[in-house]
Amino acid sequence: MKTNKFILSVCISLGLVFSSCSSFLDTEPMDSLTEVTYFKTLEQFQYAANNLHQNVYAWNQGNTSYEILFDFGTDIIARTSPAVSGTNSAGTTDPYWSQTYNWLRTVNQLIEKGDNFTGADNISGPMGQAYFFRAWHHFFLLKRFGGVPIANKVTTEDADIVWGKRASRYEVVAQIISDLDTAIVKLSKTTVATTGNDGHITLEAAKALKARVCLFEGTWEKYVGTTTDGDGTTVGTGSVKPAVYPTVTGFLTMAKDLSKEVIDGAKFELWKGVETVTVSGVANKPYYANSSYFYLFNLEDGASNPNGLGKASNKESIYRSVFDYTNRKGSMNLSHTKPATPSRKLMDMFLCTDGLPVQYSPNFQGYANMKDEFKNRDYRLASCVKEPFKFYWGFGKTSNGAVYTVDLTTKANTSTYFYSPALRASGQTGYEGRKFSTERSDRSTDSDESQDYMHIRLPEIYLIYAEATCELGNGSISDADLDYSINKVRARAGVAPLSMALIAPYSDLTLLGEIRRERALELFGEGQRISDLCRWGIAEQDMAGAPICGVYVSYNGIDTEYKTAVNPSDNKNVFNASAFDASSVTSAETSVSSYAGIAKIKAGAVISEKAENRVFARKNYLQPIPTDQIKLNPNLKQNPNW
């Protein structure tokens, strides 16, 4: 009896152990949803599409994107980039390659889930946004690398896309156009009106992007042609075109028509928030006049400009990435680093208010005194560049922000608010950029600037219209078309309208050249310059062989004020002569552009990047495919001459 009890108890205890354990193996994620159960509702698709909106190069993508966001290395900016100077060699990796394909995978996952979606909800909105981003990312790759593998489905480890050849640029363009056409159809009910232009991709944004792509590829084919394609077997992708493919005229016509659609839709308008200051209490109101262009790029809440305007006043933006001081900071250290600092060339590209360039305008005041070249100029000049010995709010200031009720000019000449150029070491330009630099010092010292990043603005649409029209007209464009488009942009800049009559007296000025000039000025520091120079086929002429320069310390053999000026805040000379040897200052007149309408650089300008480092050539039109990727997949052929 006792024995039985004993055995029974042993059996029970062992049995209990064995029986309860099999359930230990059935576990499921406890703190996240799974792919199996997701993508069942419109809401979930929109959440996934919301994520795609973050996957673009805007603020907040780390310092890697600095170079491409701000036109670094190009002719109009005094910030270097080996890839744009042309001094780089093929790298083993390229973050833009890997990152973009990672983002494309996410896009394709959403499209694939949408294609298999059988629910009742209408998911065309998020689907259209996904198609937009697939086009966006492929266009980015096209500009950087030319033809690339087309990622139009979620790839498996053994997929052809992963291991195959690069598609030709024409196949990539066809994919982009096709995806944008799909996006335009699917976004027919997702418009600026329905979204409130809240940063989501809209029908208008898709049209605007398509216009941008068409102008890009139309002009590329016209001016660059197949020179960067390679043969497709040993280098590059070859020049295979899809059976149905637009002509150059076709592209340009699409660009013109689409930009007209966007303009005529009248959903957008140029931001003119700080033409004059109207808010009472602001001291020295004229001090801030005509600076809409400056404040537009720093638009946050009411404290970001003297007119107390917030982001809602921005009707200019067609596609923007939204940032917010509380919920999504920019984290780019913009005001400290002053990414958009101009080169000598850009300074001279700005027109005088009469619409004429510095070499022709009677209004131009020359270079003798530091402030002279700022007089009678395009308003954008003052919005982009600090004027010497002037007072500014902003980075490094001890107050908590701009206090517009205080008259800045009453401040003492200490370095706190007072801007003095500094030419302490060779390489410095003497100019300091302002674009993207907030006046709110409280938001600039910790990289907390949180203005929106504008990917597509209305002025670009005007510029696309003008350029496409002019190209279609073989260099001519009617005054009516100019007034319909580009002159609206010039009007905000306080520059006289462009017309055939205006340039007629000057044989080296052309309408196309002036349209291109306008594009450089309006879109300065917005990441478009290098692809513009390339698609025009002039990047070598405009970029190579000439130094990047800064201020004139002497002009026409006469020393300018920069040589002698003393900074009253520290009683030091602005110019540290010992730091600038003969090779740091230009010694002869140098042409810096293929367009004769742009002023030549004369002797006496300080050099920030020497001519020998400016070696951009035709091969640099396309960046090299990262060599690790070629090793992994030998079917990828390197771009020509890398």
Partner: protein
């Protein structure tokens, strides 16, 4: 009567469990501790033996086991070494005691037995998986050390750190000597995968985390046993990295024994990190800019200090001037400012342990209490840990057939560390005082005042509480089948972790002169306050973690001899489940610096996240042992594991191992030679698995969500994405280990040793293959690689006595392992630096055919000694695509630069010219132990070291002006190329990024330190008061000792670092290793 007691037992158990059960609904299969009432009758015709047991010095021995041979009848000696036992006359009585040779003596009414110390320990019992085995018949490669021998007296209370070098084949590295933050890593036999697979840690039969080694009280540890070969197969899926079994002390029969051991220790700075003084920095700066001026056409590019200021620094002169080339503020500059001395110094720690143990035939108990407190070398603020340990191990024999064991332990450890400034103090050069003339923290730029950060930057408190509860019941079923027994166990472990991190914004101030005026022009210049109030830097983060682990097991054992045939069988089932959850909260903008509660933060900044997961493992296991006359030994092991971490179709796997041995010394012919006291040949083969690298739910793709903003006022909107690519086609890494070993003892056990050779092969190593990036994601890890490790271990011990009182021992161990990634599916581009596990990177690349930590560098052929050599070199290596700094620019190569060899002769230097230099794993690891005792005096020395290792450092201190605007590694000063030192150890000093890349950052063979070192890990001198003396005051044993940890090291590291320093040498990575001196007392009464 038994009934009554068992009910009491149940109550105690229940009481303790209730607390646990209340915490949450636990499927806790409480053991049924059912007991019967049985009694035993002994046969008649007995005599009563009264005896006394002594050791060789005549001291009575307490707790010696006295047993009638071949029966269960027995007792133990009491406090006076006496016993009495009723046994048949002349029956053989066996006396056994751990550490002494067992004896069998015929029973007589009065017996006095002198036990002899067992120097060979051949009867030692070794803890193996799910049981114990006699060392004599052990066939696996198992090393066991006794806690009291290797852990006691060491100042560190981190068991992992204390075991460093003690167990051949077990590589323990640490990156720091900061208590609570030692950064220990354990690997067995060179590792077995590119995934770092650590050994499985099992404490008293319960699966444990590696960090529990720093949690547990070292004084509680009876033995540490390491299963290194097929013997680990009994642990199946998780044993690929070997198994470390820790067994805690249990009460023994005998009078109650109380042991107190206490220690105070002082930590002093060992080797400083090699930062330059202000003067050295100036000299290096001057040398670099002078060198750079050569290619600049003669202009020295001064930085921060102008020529005159640099000159003053080089002359060790202080000054108060505008710096930053005249554009900065007035600044106090003092070349004698020393950030190192300002923050490091001597600190103190202590530890106390009280252990009470005792028991009788029926009940045995051991209870211990521990307290330890220790600090790092940072003496300006508290950086250290406090530990409280409690343990009770209870054994209760319900009756002759039912034995129970009960373990309860509670550990509480709080690690406190400054939130800011740890590992810093190398960014600013040592030219700026840390305190200004107003007594404030001084900083001119960069907010780098390390003292201010450490002292006023806030601290984090990480408290881990661990409650372990375990019960085991063994049923002797011998009455059914002789030799049969069954056991069941249940364990739960509750870990609560609460980490409170507090950061305070640090105020640093510029210099002001005596009048509060800071400008030569006389204009009032308000001194700058950096970050005095920045709400976002003033935060609290609370992280709460809770982990409940349960495990259950049921086993059947059969153990019986049939004449010369001995059979032992074991079979069982185990099941484990772990549930984890965490909560994290954050607020910034704290109302006041004195309060750390999150409620005092700005509610608008609040963040909270959660997270939870679980996993389960069910296993069936078995073991069979057979031996013939204890000469021919064979063992088989089996385990079948099912894991919730894998998809149902791949969930189950089987593991098995087999081993055999021959005790050659027991052959008559060998015995007659009288040479070998022991000679055993062993061999084993077995498979183990590893789940490292597999997440809990990796076979399903999760959806991650977050938020972004839209609209004009930053409205939050949800974002969602598929978080990772998964695969269901994945299973365990499987490691096959072959081991051949030889154990021997000669010269009457004076010299003994063990040699093992092994081969470990991982077939189906989990690796994330590198796909072309067009794939767009990190591919999931699949069983796509193979891996191999080969190595050997040697341990030699010499034990002897000179005269009556002087005993001494010498131990030596040496081991080495070589690894190789034998298969890796997927091509990879070779870049310079570490491959196959980069110690600095999480993502890394794998090279087939090369070992772990393979090191790729450029081969150099001396220096370019003059401009002619530079000019001649360029055309040979400068073809398109070359990484050579551009000729004709300021970045160009110049004399003193290395001459990288164009290995493939393609006219350019590219990554294709990298060559495999060797691996960076430690090789020829050795341990030397010396011990001697004379009368009451004992001396021990343990030396641990590495005979060969390649190290190439990364970060600020890895090369001169690696970062051009930071402090420098002064060991480069005077050791770089100059026109007068053309065969210097290192290339020329430069601040040019391109030249530094060429000479230092793109590693060359000459940048590799081939190091070896020996470190005096522990040295101790003890004195035990004569027993006869102390006994008069009721004390059994009293030992006083002095010891030193890490007293000295002999190393050939040339770049100024401690041999154990990290590869990363940048700001935030600096650490100083401590030397620790302790004095302690060990008292038993």
């Amino acid at each position: 009567m038994y009934h009554l007691q068992s009910n009491k037992m149940m109550k105690i158990l229940k009481l303790n469990l209730i607390a646990v059960l209340k915490l949450r609904a636990v499927r806790f299969n409480l053991l049924l501790l059912m007991m019967g009432c049985f009694s035993v009758a002994l046969s008649a015709q007995n005599i009563t033996v009264s005896g006394m047991i002594k050791d060789s010095s005549g001291e009575p021995l307490i707790g010696v086991s006295v047993q009638l041979k071949g029966t269960q009848t027995g007792t133990v000696t009491d406090y006076n070494g006496k016993f009495s036992l009723a046994v048949p006359a002349n029956a053989p009585l066996t006396f056994s005691y751990i550490g002494y040779t067992s004896q069998t003596v015929a029973a007589q009414p009065n017996l006095t037995v002198v036990m002899l110390e067992d120097t060979k320990n051949l009867d030692e019992v070794v803890v193996v998986g799910y049981g114990t085995q006699k060392k004599t018949t052990l066939t696996g490669s198992v090393t066991q050390v006794r806690g009291d021998e290797v852990l006691k007296g060491k100042a560190t209370t981190n068991v992992a750190a204390a075991l460093q070098g003690e167990i051949p084949g077990l590589t323990i590295t640490r990156t720091s000597s900061r208590p609570g933050n030692e950064g220990t890593a354990i690997s067995l036999r060179g590792g077995i995968s590119v995934n770092s697979v650590s050994p499985m840690i099992v404490i008293d039969g319960v699966d444990s985390y590696e960090w529990e080694l720093s949690q547990i009280n070292p004084n509680d540890i009876e033995t540490v046993s390491v299963l290194k070969d097929a013997s680990a197969a009994i642990y199946g899926t998780r044993a690929a990295g070997g198994v470390i079994l820790i067994t805690t002390k249990r009460g023994k029969e005998g009078k109650v024994k109380v042991n107190y051991s206490g220690r105070v220790n002082t930590n002093v700075v060992g080797k400083r990190f090699p930062t330059a003084t202000g003067q050295e920095w100036a000299l290096m700066m001057n040398e670099a800019i002078t060198n750079d001026a050569v290619t600049n056409g003669g202009t020295k590019a001064y930085w921060m200090f102008d020529e005159a200021q640099l000159g003053k620094l080089m002359n060790n002169e202080s000054f108060y001037e505008k710096i930053n080339m005249g554009t900065g503020n007035l600044t106090q500059v003092d070349p004698t400012a020393d950030q190192f001395d300002a923050i490091y110094g001597t600190t103190y720690g202590q530890s106390h342990n009280l252990t009470i143990s005792g028991g009788n035939e029926k009940t045995r108990i051991l209870t211990s209490l521990g307290y330890a407190q220790d600090r790092s070398l940072i003496d300006v603020t508290y950086d250290g840990q406090k530990k409280y340990n409690f343990r009770t191990n209870l054994d209760y024999n319900v009756n002759k057939w039912i034995k129970t064991e009960f373990n309860l332990s509670y550990d509480n450890r709080t690690v406190t560390a400054p939130t800011q400034g740890i590992g810093q103090g190398i960014q600013d050069f040592y030219t700026f005082p840390l305190i200004n003339n107003k007594g404030q923290y001084y900083d001119v730029f960069g907010k780098n005042n390390v003292l201010a950060k450490l002292v006023t930057g806030g601290a984090s408190n990480n408290r881990e509480e661990l409650l372990r509860l375990g019960g085991k019941t063994t049923f002797d079923l011998g009455f059914l089948v002789k030799g049969l027994s069954a056991s069941a166990n249940a364990n739960i472990k509750i870990r609560n972790g609460l980490k409170i991190e507090r950061q305070l914004s640090v105020s640093m101030y510029d210099w002001v002169n005596e009048n509060g005026i800071g400008d030569v022009t006389g204009v009032a210049y308000p001194f700058n306050t950096f970050k005095a109030i920045s709400p976002s830097e003033n935060w609290v983060k609370n992280t709460y973690q809770e982990n409940l682990y349960q495990s259950y097991g049921g086993f059947l054992n059969y153990d019986r001899g049939f004449g010369n045939h001995n059979i032992s069988l074991m079979g069982g089932v185990t099941a484990e489940k772990s549930d984890y959850m965490q909560l994290y909260s954050y607020r910034s903008g704290m109302a006041d610096n004195s309060l750390d509660d999150i409620n005092t933060g700005d509610a608008l900044t609040a963040q909270a996240t959660g997270g939870s997961n679980d996993w389960g493992l069910v296993s069936y296991l078995g073991r069979a042992n057979y031996n013939y006359k204890e000469i021919y030994l064979i063992e088989g092991l089996f385990r079948r594991d099912g894991s919730s971490k894998l998809s149902p179709e791949n969930r189950w796997a089987n593991f098995a191992g087999v081993s055999g041995g021959i005790r050659i010394s027991e052959f008559e012919a060998i015995k007659n030679m009288e040479v070998f006291s022991n000679l055993k040949l062993r061999a084993s083969y077995g498979e183990t698995g590893s789940l490292s690298g597999i997440g809990n739910y990796d076979y399903v793709s999760g959806i991650s969500t977050n938020t972004t903003v839209f609209g004009y006022t930053g409205t939050k909107a949800t974002t969602a994405w598929i978080s990772q690519v998964t695969t269901a086609n994945r299973t365990w890494e499987r490691v096959a280990t072959t081991d051949i070993g030889l154990d021997f003892a000669v010269l009457n056990n004076r010299l003994s040793g063990t040699f093992d050779w092994y081969l470990r092969e991982n077939k189906g190593m989990l690796i994330a293959m590198t796909y072309p990036q067009v794939y767009g994601a990190t591919a999931p890890k699949t069983n796509s690689g193979n891996f191999k490790a080969k190595g050997w271990e040697l341990a030699l011990n010499w034990n002897d006595k000179i005269g009556k009182d002087f005993t001494y021992k010498v131990g030596f161990s040496l081991n080495d392992a070589n690894t190789e990634v034998t298969k890796y599916n997927g091509a990879v581009a070779i870049t310079n630096g570490y491959k196959n596990n980069n110690p600095n990177e999480s993502g890394t690349s794998w090279i087939e055919g090369k070992p772990l930590y393979a090191l790729y560098v450029y081969k150099t052929d001396g220096y370019l000694q003059d401009q002619a050599a530079v000019d001649a070199y360029y055309p040979t290596v400068n073809a398109t695509g070359s990484i050579v700094p551009k000729q004709g620019t300021v970045n160009a190569l110049q004399p003193g630069c290395v001459k990288k060899v164009d290995m493939n002769g393609d006219g350019k230097i590219t990554t294709d010219d990298l060559y495999y230099l060797g691996d960076a794993a430690p090789h020829l690891l050795f341990g030397i132990s010396l011990g001697a005792s004379y009368k009451g005096v004992d001396f021990n020395l343990f030396i641990q070291g590495v005979a060969q290792q390649n190290i190439v450092r990364d970060g600020t201190m890895a090369g001169p002006f690696w970062v051009g605007y930071q402090n420098q590694n002064s060991t480069f000063l005077g050791n770089t190329w100059t026109t007068t030192n053309t065969s210097a150890r290192y290339p020329l000093m430069s601040r040019n990024g391109d030249r530094n890349n060429w000479n230092y950052k793109w590693y060359n063979d000459i940048n590799v330190n081939n190091i070896s070192y020996a470190r005096a890990k522990t040295m101790s001198l003890g004195y035990s008061l004569p027993k006869l003396l102390v006994k008069k005051v009721g004390v059994e044993n009293l030992r006083l000792y002095l010891s030193a940890d890490n007293l000295f090291e002999i190393s050939n590291v040339k770049d100024g670092f401690d041999p154990e320093s990290k590869v990363a040498s940048g700001q935030g990575n600096m650490d100083v290793f401590a030397r620790t001196f302790s004095c302690g007392i060990d008292l038993t009464f």
